[in-house]
Amino acid sequence: MINVSIRTDLYYVGNIYDLDKLIRILRETYGRRLQGYKYYGGKVTWGEINGISDLPLSVEDYVEPGLYRLREGYRFRHSSVSPKLFLLPSKQIYIVESNDFSQAKVLDYNVSIQYVLFGIKPCDLNAINVLDRMIGEKNPVYAHRRRSISAIIVEECLEPNNNCFCGVMNSGPFVEKDFDIAYARLDDKRVIFKYGSSFGRDVLSKLELRIAGEKEVYEYLEKTKLARERTSAVFKKSMKEIQESLMNKARDKELWLKISENCVGCGNCNFVCPTCFCLEFDYSINGEDQGVKIANWTGCLLYSYGQVAGGHFRPELYTRYRHFILHKFVFYPRQIERLGCVGCGRCITWCPMSIDLRECVNNAISG
């Protein structure tokens, strides 16, 4: 991917069939393979995008804390999956080795394929940035897969869903850098495009779109502004105050017990979070003489997460929930100089106990 930040005032307008054209050009002219949110069998999962029928174009996600429904519409935000599924798969084969440990082979990933992430969301793009800083070259699987991504095409959000709070986390609902092409749906038919790299400009020029009129650009900017405002009015204090307050209250056991009282430690929040990257290793023996080391997703909300030889470092559930919040808001910034939460709201939507991270943070800083 080309990381050039091109501030452009050039917008183009087309319709949803231009997305089909875009997919075809990327596949046929440029020989790329596309990965993104895929509509299949009444659900939106992650997968290969081969044409417009793979895109979630005529559905929208209605969400509340602990509730997700896909219904007719044209404003799809996201589902429980994210680009993490591609970059940091849930079960990664790390090493295959012989029984006596004399031979080991790190599995090779096919890096000759050039992938394009298609239709990911602004929050997703920011989540990738978090993972890049946090994992980067440290994990061979991630590094290989990350390198295989040759371009990123973002779908911006003009109408966030109920659980989105990307604005306050400075991760959406629009993008300004680190993308090649971005588009947004003005309504169920019209699509507005912009480019963020020279590659993006070249590809867009092949679509033969018309240049957007002043009214359309105004409409786009106005909706973007509203969406940003809507996803920003979330916390009672500024981010700096939140961070200070969280640290000051980190040792208040009663407070955290109260905040986490409904949590059952199932780990769904960790798994759906696009920036949670924790893995656990599992050795299994394959037949007579082969062992396989597999890295599986794990998460700090799980009891097993704190199990170590000789004991357990977070046996109480409240300490695990507390860690989740502290890691996202306080520890990531210390580790990678940016917040670990991008405000996508997945942990809120997919929590079977309907626990709302926004509310928990607010309670923590005011309680």
């Binding site: 997700y68 949590c263 780990g267 939507t349 079977p352 106990m353």
Partner: protein, 252 residues
């Protein structure tokens, strides 16, 4: 040769059958282990065992005695399945007056030796290793034997069923369909079998009682009630797979 025994207490033989199928499909293992005691195969040598697998819960004093004797003859004891580990489906009768039931069914109720509350085997003997599931996943037994053979034990990381559900890329039936699901409070190991068929988990691997106290379980069951699950279902679920969990949950 490593000597292995399978002892059956109150249970349905599902775990034994799963083990058998798994063992027969891994021929290279059969050469390393000698199956000494396995009543369903007519193997009845009772001298000593390296590994004793126990299926079923303890339902009467005769079984209790037998289990104690087998424990003395065995180096390692593995509890096999939710009955052995937590009491299993027969725990549905926990808390009922079994004397009353005996009177209505049998002409000589005194002759029936049975406990009201079935016991998980750990109430009677020391358990070295537990494999949960109703029935267990046969791969877990194979994995255990392979690791034992190379001088170790498998490392089991008991999590919630949700972990396997999410790793397998399934869409949550609870959040996306409103179907009550016990996955969040149930021990993993099945590979999220029920959610992969769009139905809710019904807790057959047992509730995660080491991590969740009564209050949290109550809150979880309240959530299921809100989703439309009847109270009777919750009673059955909470009692049906675990004597332990039974103690946690309100009586109907």
């Amino acid at each position: 040769m490593i000597r292995v025994a399978f002892l059956k207490l109150t249970s349905c033989s599902g775990c034994l059958n799963q083990s058998l199928v798994a063992l027969l499909s891994n021929e290279e293992l059969l050469g390393k282990f000698e199956f000494a005691y396995f009543t369903e195969l007519g193997l009845l040598t009772e001298d000593y065992f390296d590994i004793l697998f126990v299926e079923g819960s303890v339902s009467n004093s005769k079984q209790e005695k037998e289990l104690r004797e087998f424990r003395k003859k065995s180096k390692t004891l593995v509890a096999l399945g939710t009955c052995a580990v937590q009491g299993g489906i027969q725990s549905l009768r926990s808390g009922e007056d079994v004397e009353e039931v005996k009177k209505t069914v049998y002409p000589f109720p005194d002759k029936i030796d049975i406990y009201s509350d079935p016991k998980p085997i750990s109430d009677v003997v020391k358990v070295d290793f537990a494999i949960t599931g109703c029935p267990i996943n046969g791969d877990a037994v194979v994995n255990f034997l392979r690791k034992y053979d190379v001088g170790g034990l498998p490392l089991i990381l008991p999590e919630s069923v949700c972990c396997e559900c999410k790793r397998n890329g399934l869409t949550c039936v609870m959040v996306a369909q409103g179907t009550p699901c016990l996955g969040p409070v149930t021990v993993s190991g099945c590979g999220a079998l029920c959610p992969s068929f769009q139905r809710g988990c019904y807790g057959c691997y047992g509730l995660r009682t080491w991590d969740l106290d009564k209050t949290r379980l109550e809150k979880f069951f309240d959530k299921l009630l809100k989703l439309g699950a009847p109270e009777s279902m919750i009673q059955v679920i909470a009692r049906g797979y675990g004597y332990r969990s039974y103690k946690y949950v309100r009586r109907g």
